[in-house]
């Protein structure tokens, strides 16, 4: 008989481990990714594949440099793949390879591994990469493509939020005459690869909620707050301000609220904290969208709130039993 193994209690473990969680998220993002390839064509597929390949490569390099054991197992634990997919969905579909690889580098090596690797990063890697690319390469990052379908020629177009920011009331007029709310929902508007498929993203998010990977607190509060914030201004002046329904369906709102803000490592652990987090993101996003210099604000909002997560966790301690 072999030696008996001694371990601390408990001696059994839940089946839902890190790999299961990460691959569930990747699975949830798959419908939206496939749809974006369908709508944008081969360039979108290229961006996705380059993002995944470079993400895994950088992950392996970073692990090797840290002299970690089990490099292959850790590289394929799913976290790099999820980051890569999220990054891809944030980019314009005709992004050149160098842009994607740079983004991957910033996400994996700088935002994740220099802070200590999985579990230690303060900021959401895919978002920091997106913001980095946006600020460093504004031209390439704002060359949005109209989703004309697989095989169609790429036609650059402004996103609805762009139009609102640059042309104000006239822009709103243009958008509401051209698109209906359903268009936003089903992905018929120009935008990044992930912006165009709100319905499929929501489907993926629903799957994650059923699998208990994400909980309702963060995404629903972000959406509700954004809706309320933009709604107040819309009620005051519906010519200058776009309808709240447009706001929550367009831009990176759905992708940001359901997939980026809910990233476990960079969001609060306590339920109360999650609600504070969500409300704050909603408000900041609204502020940037309506009054800030950028048309889309959710990326910045999430990154700002990521920095405050430790203090939110500290001050929203759970009520102990017996107190």
């Amino acid at each position: 008989m072999r030696e008996l193994i001694l371990t601390s209690a408990p001696h059994v473990r839940s089946g839902s481990q890190l790999k299961n969680i990460m691959y569930d998220v990747a699975l949830a993002l798959l419908p939206a990714t496939v749809w974006s390839v369908y709508k944008f064509g081969m360039p979108a597929l290229n961006v996705t594949l380059i993002a995944i390949a470079s993400g895994l490569a950088f992950e392996a390099i970073a692990l090797y440099m840290q002299r970690k054991k089990d490099i292959v197992a850790i590289t394929f634990d799913g976290s790099a793949i999820v980051t890569a997919l999220l990054l891809a969905l944030n980019l314009p579909s005709n992004s050149p390879a160098w842009l994607v690889i740079t983004g991957s580098f910033v996400a994996i090596i700088i935002t994740k591994h220099t802070f200590g690797g999985l579990g230690y990063n303060i900021f959401n890697p895919a978002l920091v990469a997106r913001v980095f690319l946006l600020i460093s390469f504004p031209v390439q990052m704002t060359k949005w493509v109209a989703p004309n379908g697989f095989g169609a020629d790429a036609q650059t177009a402004a996103t609805p939020l762009d139009l609102i920011k640059t042309e104000g009331a006239a822009g709103i007029e243009k958008i509401t005459s051209q698109y209906t709310n359903l268009d936003f929902f089903l992905g018929n508007t120009p935008g990044s690869m992930g912006e165009v498929s709100g319905a499929l993203l929501l489907l993926g998010a629903l799957y994650l909620m059923i699998r208990k990977v994400i909980t309702w607190e963060i995404p629903i509060t972000i959406m509700a707050t954004l809706f309320a914030f933009t709604g107040i201004f819309y009620l005051v002046n519906d010519a200058e301000y776009a309808s709240p329904v447009l706001h929550i369906l367009s831009g990176g709102a759905i992708l940001g609220a359901f997939f980026m803000a809910t990233d476990m490592v960079t969001s609060p652990m306590t339920r109360k904290g999650m609600i504070i987090f969500g409300v704050s993101i909603g408000i900041i996003t609204g502020l940037i969208r309506l009054f800030g210099g950028y048309p889309e604000g959710i990326s910045f909002a999430i990154i700002i709130m990521n920095a405050l997560v430790p203090i939110i966790d500290k001050y929203t301690k759970v009520k102990k039993f017996g107190t």
């Binding site: 030696e3 193994i5 001694l6 601390s8």
Partner: protein, 287 residues
């Protein structure tokens, strides 16, 4: 030319105003230092300057500054800093103008040489620190009294004086400052303080009967009493199948060492205990 003269004006005004502010700040600080000055015996500063500054707490007081304050306040020369040793005690006594007290240099000694010479039962998996395995009482070392070898003592030592060699902790007595950190850290209390000058000790704490000890360790004390009989100075105490050398009576004659069949009695040479596996050329230093 006019432009240059105008430019110089700005520079001069800036320079004068900043200097003025600095001057006023200086005066304010001077007075603040006077008004808020803390009364302190200059002797405390002097003594603190010659202390090692390790803030290890081995002297029994938290920190070197507190030690200096206590010495000056109580004028108690028995307060001993093990890191600085006798030399430091003499220096402090000189500064204070008092008599120094002679104290023996003490060192930590690990009363175990088991390591790879002893057996394991079961395989422990989990947090690999001595404190962790001791908390849940799940260790795979068969001997219930010996060193686990995970190195909590090594982590606690500020002076690089203890390492795990071939699975058991071993002290470098030259570097050891008797600060007590490893003694306190060890969950099985297998490290003891002994005088550096006494170079013989029995590296075992097992109170099991000889037959049982032989099953789990090649170098454990079986309680055969041969050392007790060999000692002409009555320096070996025997209780519950375990012999212990009393440092006060030991004369380093080494008669007991030769008599011990299991090599349990160990001599220190150049500050390193010559434990059985240490003598092996390529002793594996783990931590």
């Amino acid at each position: 030319m006019n432009d240059i003269m105008n430019g110089w004006e700005e520079i001069v005004i800036t320079a004068i105003s900043l200097s003025g502010i600095a001057f006023l700040a200086g005066i304010a600080l001077y007075y603040a230092a006077k008004v808020f000055a803390v009364e302190e015996d200059p002797m405390v500063e002097e003594i603190n300057d010659i202390l090692p500054g390790a803030n290890c707490g081995a002297c029994g007081v938290p920190g070197c500054m507190s030690f200096a304050e206590k010495v000056v306040k109580t004028k108690d020369m028995s307060l001993y800093c093990p890191v600085g040793g006798q030399e430091l005690s003499d220096d402090i006594a000189d500064l204070m103008g008092l008599e120094a007290i002679e104290q023996d240099k003490m060192v930590a000694r690990v009363m175990c040489q088991g390591g790879h010479s002893s057996t394991r039962t079961g395989e422990y998996r989990g947090i690999k620190t001595c404190g962790a395995v001791s908390t849940i009482h799940q260790y795979d070392l068969t001997c219930p009294y010996g060193c686990f070898g995970y190195g909590d003592c090594v982590t606690s030592c500020d002076f690089d004086a203890i390492h795990i060699v071939n699975g058991v902790a071993l002290v470098d007595e030259e570097k050891c400052t008797a600060c007590d950190a490893c003694v306190v850290e060890c969950p099985v209390n297998i490290i003891e303080m002994q005088p550096y000058d006494k170079t013989v000790f029995i590296a075992c704490k097992s109170i099991d009967a000889g037959g049982a000890v032989k099953k789990y360790c090649d170098v454990g004390c079986t309680g055969c009493k041969k050392c007790v009989k060999a000692c002409e100075h009555e320096a070996i105490h025997f209780d519950s199948f375990l012999a212990t050398i009393l440092p006060d009576k030991c004369t380093n004659c080494n008669d007991c060492v030769d008599k011990c069949d299991t090599d349990t009695i160990v001599i220190t040479k150049d500050g390193i205990a010559q434990i059985k596996d240490k003598l092996v050329e390529n002793a594996e230093v783990n931590v």
